[in-house]
């Protein structure tokens, strides 16, 4: 795959000395969904703002579609669509006018067919003549997406696209994003909902205190860093974990009706076979077993905590 966005040692230091980005280097591949995760103030929005031209970086370089964001800003920005975190729309303007305005701003001639397609895709066509102030929060967010898409960008930055959106609408939004990916748009998504990143992203980048901690394929990351828990339901409850099973660091659960065994999925041996044998030798009858994979949220919290330590 080719990198459509290349970030090379990008830094941003504000006048008060606050370093929002520190030597950030990152390649974003064409057609992927990259989730940029980080706690509040980690530098997610600053990174997006620097790439889109809203903030001027103090050092480093970045290219979009091979165009430098400073020297070739016209070509670079023409390829980018940005959906900001805050809902910023002119309240008295009609939906269709504000979308057409965005298309013009990005140097594209009027195309009613395309604007209609974008508005229909986002379920906004029926609202096209409504004033922005008449729309709900979720609809306004869709208008922001329509504005970002109407100039046919190849790279779309979605900065917290589902913040403040109800669960149903959030799922709808995920469908929209998946549809965009299918149409070949590269998507960079920042989100607080790790469930969202887990459901949609191909790769995960974790940023904290202006530094990229890791960039990795989501499945690999979860396999590598994820831990699994084996729950063993016992036929008869036990008062304590037998001493002979101490090496397995078992946890007692459900009032002695279950034992929990944590193991590393990346390890060569999980120790499950030996544990089951040891349980049989101890005379404990197993009624049921189930496994649970740790979520991206647990991995993320672990990474950020590690970085803070």
């Amino acid at each position: 795959m080719n990198a459509i966005v290349t970030v090379d040692q990008l830094s941003k230091t504000y006048k008060d000395g606050f370093q929002a980005l520190r030597d950030v280097s990152l390649d974003i591949e064409e057609g992927e969904i990259l989730a940029l995760l980080g706690p509040n103030g980690a530098g997610k929005t600053t990174l997006i703002s620097a790439l889109c031209g809203i903030t001027t970086p103090t050092a480093g370089q970045a290219r979009v579609g091979g165009h430098d964001i400073v020297t070739g800003y016209r070509a670079a920005r023409a390829m980018i669509g940005l959906v900001p975190q805050e809902i910023a729309l002119e309240p008295f303007e009609k939906v269709i006018n504000t979308v057409q305005f965005s298309r013009g701003l990005f140097g594209k001639s009027r195309d009613d067919t395309l604007v209609e397609r974008v508005l229909r895709q986002l379920s906004l066509w029926d609202k096209r003549n409504n004033r922005i102030r008449e729309l709900s929060g979720g609809m306004k967010r869709r208008v922001l997406i329509a504005k970002a898409l109407c100039h046919e960008p190849r790279v779309l930055f979605l900065d917290e696209p589902t913040a403040g959106v109800d669960v149903e609408l959030r799922r709808d939004m995920w469908e929209v994003v998946r549809g965009l990916k299918e149409s070949g748009v590269t998507i960079i998504l920042t989100t607080h909902y790790l469930e969202e990143a887990e459901a949609m992203a191909d790769r995960i980048a974790v940023i904290n205190r202006g530094e990229i901690l890791l960039v990795e394929n989501k499945a690999d990351l979860m396999r590598r860093m994820g831990r699994k828990t084996l729950q063993i339901d016992l036929a008869e409850p036990v008062a304590a974990v037998p001493a002979t099973l101490a090496q397995y660091a078992l946890e007692l659960a459900h009032d002695g009706h279950a034992l929990l065994y944590h193991y590393d999925t990346g390890g060569e041996r999980t120790g499950i076979t030996r544990l089951l044998q040891a349980l049989a030798e101890e005379g404990l009858n197993v009624r049921d077993i189930e496994t649970r994979q740790s979520s991206l949220e647990e991995i993320f919290v672990g990474l950020v905590r590690e970085d803070a330590a």
Partner: protein, 253 residues
């Protein structure tokens, strides 16, 4: 050059103007009528002629200037301040456009609006006094230059302003007094000699004088000096706007 972007900004701003066309035009028409009633009929009837021109006609260029300057400033300053205020400025900053194109869109629209208002006032004035414009081409040229220069100035105020109060500050505290004291309702030659010298430090004197010359062929200062004053003001404003976009002053972090 991103012509589509310039057009998009221009059309968007003009649509805003036409959305409130009634209020936009009614206000200057009413205020001009009031000025004619007060200065033209009530006070003007006691003043015979100024520089060979009836007083009612004499104040027309000054009245147009007053409205055109304040309208150009308020339209351009609001045009760029509003996106800053509601946060939509991000779209301008992230679009493939440069400062010159942004300025052309906003300032072009604000200048057009003030030109239209200037035209409406001129027509309104025609109902009260007989107007015989001696240099119509120069009159239009002066009007266009003043509209564009003051729209640029308004654009700077819009960028500088951090709240709606600041947006009103300069038009109210600086422009209106300068126009009133710049010979809008009198000829500089009517002042005592010492005050005539003081008045010449008011840049608006040169603008009103040049504009009045295009109407009646009489001026307080030479036409060349008036043109130079507008040119200098325009260049200064353009320089400041260029610096704003180069440094990102109050628009970019």
């Amino acid at each position: 050059m991103n012509l589509h972007a310039i057009r998009a900004i221009y059309v968007y701003e003009m649509k805003r103007f036409f959305r409130t066309i009634f209020e936009s035009l009614l206000s200057p028409v009413i205020s001009t009528t009031l000025y004619f009633v007060v200065f033209g009929a009530a006070i003007g009837s006691r003043i015979e002629e100024v520089e060979g021109v009836s007083y009612g006609a004499f104040i027309v260029p000054g009245l147009i200037m007053l409205s055109v300057m304040t309208q150009a400033i308020s339209n351009a300053s609001f045009g760029i301040y509003f996106p800053k205020f509601i946060g939509t400025i991000f779209e301008l900053l992230s679009a493939p456009i440069n400062f010159f194109e942004i300025v052309l869109g906003y300032v072009g629209a604000a200048a057009t609006k003030s030109l239209l208002i200037g035209g409406v006032i001129l027509i309104t004035a025609g109902f009260f006094v007989d107007l015989d414009i001696q240099h119509p081409v120069m009159m239009v040229a002066f009007l266009v230059m003043i509209c564009v220069s003051f729209a640029l100035f308004g654009f700077i105020i819009g960028i500088w302003s951090e709240n709606f109060q600041q947006l009103q500050l300069i038009p109210l505290l600086v422009i209106t007094p300068l126009v009133f004291l710049g010979g809008a309702f009198y000829s500089v030659s009517m002042l005592p000699e010492g005050w005539q010298t003081v008045t010449l430090f008011n840049p608006v004197v040169y603008l009103i004088s040049g504009f009045r010359w295009s109407f009646f062929g009489v001026a307080d200062v030479s036409v060349g000096l008036s043109l130079a004053a507008i040119g200098l003001f325009f260049a200064l404003c353009l320089g400041v706007v260029w610096w704003i976009f180069k440094t990102g002053y109050r628009i970019k972090s």
